[in-house]
Subunit: 565 residues, 2 copies
């Protein structure tokens, strides 16, 4: 290989990024593109360039390994998904699908998720209960015609996802598959080192009855989580039941009250939700109380009221009033908008929590702990789907019944996503500092940059070869005409965990720590034998920042340092 | 891992495939789907299932390795390609693109190939000649709205491709990159073991001035190749110049003569191509003689003639008559269809080879050897593109000129494709026999199937662990209720190279050869030490078919056998 090929060819860091304090104002999404991790040909679309592809490859290797170890089998589904399947499950309209026709007029969408396709595949494959459990996964590009794509990878029109799907004979067996995937998720996220939480979540468009989000707590996140100081529950705001911190009856008489109107699927019942005007209604909490509510009816408030405003309308129809538990009899309720309503037709439900919790309120699950809120970035989601897709797509399985004859039941499914490109954006954001990115060693574009500060090329060759033999993914910055300081700044900016400087003290080589440290495994190695190995600490003595290591020991020392970060 | 998870869950071979001689009538495309390598949700679309995904993963690993070793850097381009780029290069119409709009009205195609996008990316990245050479590659799904998709993977609407693109400062440097990729292709195709040829090819829609196809010679192929017995040239039919095996003047006076009409880009010259009616005209050979011919004018023969049939038409226009060299003065030429033509305006070119060669004719390159024809399956294509894309997309680079000042030149490009899914279809087709598939060990779904013929589960566990320790990708067929014979048939049908049978002679284990053998590396190991190792040969003694090996030696023997196949 020619030496010229050894370093990514495009590695031109604009001088504006190298000035002191210049990074403070650069959003992470811009830092990615300025450094050449990827570019956006159009908002929401991504061309991954060598630096980014390297991170992506390492991350997908980790996910592949944990998926395989948990028994999942890899598939690779078509990117084009026939409209008919989505029509059968009722998802053809409403979701942000990219739609297209082929030359024969058939209609497709670009796969946004694969519940439909994988269920159809499984339906054709599953012969009997002996074929189950079945656990398929893939890592590939998904598409969503996002109206307002965000810069970077967090909300794109194409994104790389790991999606897995389980098929089982019973809800109990399906929950075993669910727990198996949950365990695999813990292994994946632990290996990535970035602290994460698993939060109870609502099931949203995907459906099903149980779901968890895998979140990175970070102020830039779009999601709001609550953790209860009492029962330790972690919940997405949409799943957080909350009680006010003080009894409303004793508190200041509440401020203005708002009302929102909903209608049931059969259009026969008007549901009026009352809550304090300075709070935000959570329709899915309302739906937990009145399951027949149609949250997707698409009608405006006036259109809903019009359904109930005819002369005779309210003779055959009902009204349910739901009062958030923060209201009390002295609250300032708005007037009821429909005249001639008979009080006999009105049901009133009080003391129901139907608004978003706020920091400091009481946990609705344990009624004791205090809810602490934080922002978070969602990077994974696991769902128990039950029969939601297997029923319309007739994915059935024969199982022996009690009397020995075979009976046919719908498969019980789960689905499990990890936002792979999202993870990279999130980790980039969370781990960066004023010097640039700081990748966990396991997904860094490479692990150590060797920089030659001497004029003797053979020394850095030797260092590269020692590190290579120790299994370290190393690159040598042998660009000509650039100073040592500039090269060190650049590798730190890109976020490579270690900088290895080959200078006048050779065969002693300097190893500078750039990566975030998660533990200190190297210390036990050092305790065994510190010959030819000196450590410099931070001024406060808490943390090692530089290691001076004899070339003979370099490989093992660097390998052990990398395990720490 | 639960033992149930160890074997692909869906492995139900229909009994019709296990009957004697039942495979003879099963097309390879059907064999793939019946065995569960993949399924087609619609013609031309593919869902890869675990068996197929495993082959795909192994093949892509090999390609990745050789691409990296040749200095190529991995990228991953967006699947959606903006219409504007294709309009700039003139390829928006004419090619079979899947087109779609996003919600904001912007128009895209699904990437069918990436010359446009990668050139735009490079144009934004290349600062100066110091950024070059640049060699990018990716392996991902491409799309083509194929009107008549073939069953299987050979002509699909989505296909997996490795595509690489090189950017250089000069034609000479670009040819160095071209040769580097050619060398990498030789390494990839050699590793796959299936004999291949590199043929001179025409550049077609991609353009450029030099190209080679990488072909598997096989009767099922769609392409025709000629090899010259004299100069050893291997050429696609479209590039094959040929002379008749005997002098036409001495031969039988030719049969009927056909004529086809063409027009030049400027519509001022009518080109009449004359050739024997039982031969096939090759318009690109005609174009080599008259480069201005517009092969894509889209006009019918009558429409072309109408351009030249007006009263005054032929006053300002020209006629070129091109005679294939198989014609002579006594040939039965058709009447010239246009009246009042002045002979002064007609140019006649004779002795030009403009038809497809046939088997047994003389090579037009060396004028001596005989052309032998064969059918072939194209699995790769390398192109020297020159400035075809860099010019319209302004991918320029500053280079120091003779006087030391910088001048701006277009980058010189090459592009290099391997049809990854096509390769799998082709190797499946070429290597199969009446027992099923026979995968080269390097891309087999797994390398050896362990089948337990005893009731003692611990023995097969031991065998699996020995093989695993020797680095063999092994699976244990521990399905209950299936006989030994059935299991052996199934693993051979799927095409796994080795069957390892654990029976009553344990610790002696039987290793049956299923894969195609390419050499006999095991013999040197055997010659060193044959203790605990017996070999059974074919009746004619030529080839080993079964090895009886003591468990202690099993790992090394199996590993060495796999290197042979």
């Amino acid at each position: 290989m020619s030496p010229l090929r050894r370093f990514p060819r495009i590695f031109s860091v604009g001088p504006e990024l190298l000035k002191p304090n210049s990074l403070a104002k650069v959003p992470t999404a811009d830092l990615f593109t300025k450094l050449g991790f990827f570019t956006h040909p159009k908002p929401g679309l991504v061309h991954w360039l060598p630096l980014g592809t390297s991170v992506l490859d390492k991350l997908t290797s980790i996910i592949h390994r944990h998926m395989r170890n948990s028994g999942a089998e890899e598939v690779r589904m078509s990117a084009l998904s026939p409209a008919a399947l989505w029509q059968q499950t009722g998802r053809w309209t409403g979701t942000e699908l990219f739609k297209l026709h082929d030359s024969s007029g058939s209609e497709y969408c670009l796969a946004a998720t694969c519940e439909e396709d994988i269920t159809a595949v499984a339906a054709a494959q599953i012969a009997s209960y002996k074929s189950l459990p079945l656990l398929y996964y893939q890592i590939n590009t998904k598409f969503r015609d996002e109206k307002r794509p965000r810069a970077g990878l967090l909300r794109g029109r194409e994104f790389i996802m790991k999606d897995a799907y389980s098929f089982d004979v019973s809800p109990e067996a399906a929950m075993e598959s669910y727990e198996e995937m949950v365990a695999a998720y813990h292994r994946v996220f632990s290996e990535l080192r970035v602290p994460y939480v698993k939060a109870e979540a609502s099931t949203g468009d995907i459906g099903g009855s149980l779901s968890h989000e895998w979140q990175y707590v970070h102020p830039s996140g779009e999601d709001t989580l609550f953790r209860c100081t009492g029962c330790d529950a972690v919940l997405n705001v949409e799943k957080t039941l909350s009680f006010p911190a003080e009894d409303p009856a004793n508190g200041k008489a509440g401020g203005p009250v708002s009302v929102e109107y909903f209608v049931t699927d059969d259009k026969n019942t008007l549901v009026c939700a009352y809550f304090l005007s300075d709070r935000t209604l959570l329709p899915n909490l309302l739906q937990d109380e009145v399951p027949e509510i149609d949250l997707k009816c698409g009608l405006t408030q006036d259109q809903i009221l019009a359904l109930f405003s005819g002369e005779d309308a309210l003779l055959s129809k009902n009204v349910i009033r739901v009062m958030d538990l923060r209201l009390h009899s002295r609250s300032n309720f708005p007037d009821f908008p429909i005249k001639f309503v008979s009080r006999a037709l009105i049901t009133t439900l009080t003391d129901i929590p139907i608004v978003e919790a706020v920091h400091g309120e009481i946990c609705g699950q344990c009624s004791e702990g205090v809810l602490e809120s934080s922002r978070a970035i969602e990077v994974g989601h696991t769902f128990y789907l039950g029969e939601k897709y297997s029923k319309p797509l007739q994915c059935t399985v024969s199982v022996p019944g009690n009397d020995g004859t075979l009976e046919t039941v719908n498969a019980f499914m789960g689905c499990y996503g990890i936002g792979v490109s999202r993870l990279i954006a999130a980790i980039g954001e969370i781990n960066r500092d004023l010097m640039g990115f700081r990748w966990p060693a396991c997904i860094a574009p490479w692990s150590a940059t060797v920089i030659n500060a001497s004029t003797d090329f053979s020394k850095s060759e030797r260092v590269v070869s020692e590190l290579h033999d120790a299994g370290v993914d190393v690159r040598c910055d042998d660009r000509e005409g650039l100073g040592l300081g500039r090269k060190i700044k650049e590798t730190k900016l890109v976020g490579i965990p270690l900088v290895v400087i080959v200078g006048k003290n050779f065969p002693i080589v300097e190893v500078e720590i750039r990566g975030k440290k998660y533990n200190d495994l190297w210390k036990s190695l050092f305790a065994q034998d510190s010959e030819g190995w000196e450590v410099e600490y931070l001024e406060d003595g808490t943390s090692d920042i530089k290691h001076k290591v004899h070339i003979e020991r370099l490989g093992s020392v660097v390998a052990s340092l990398l395990k720490d970060m």
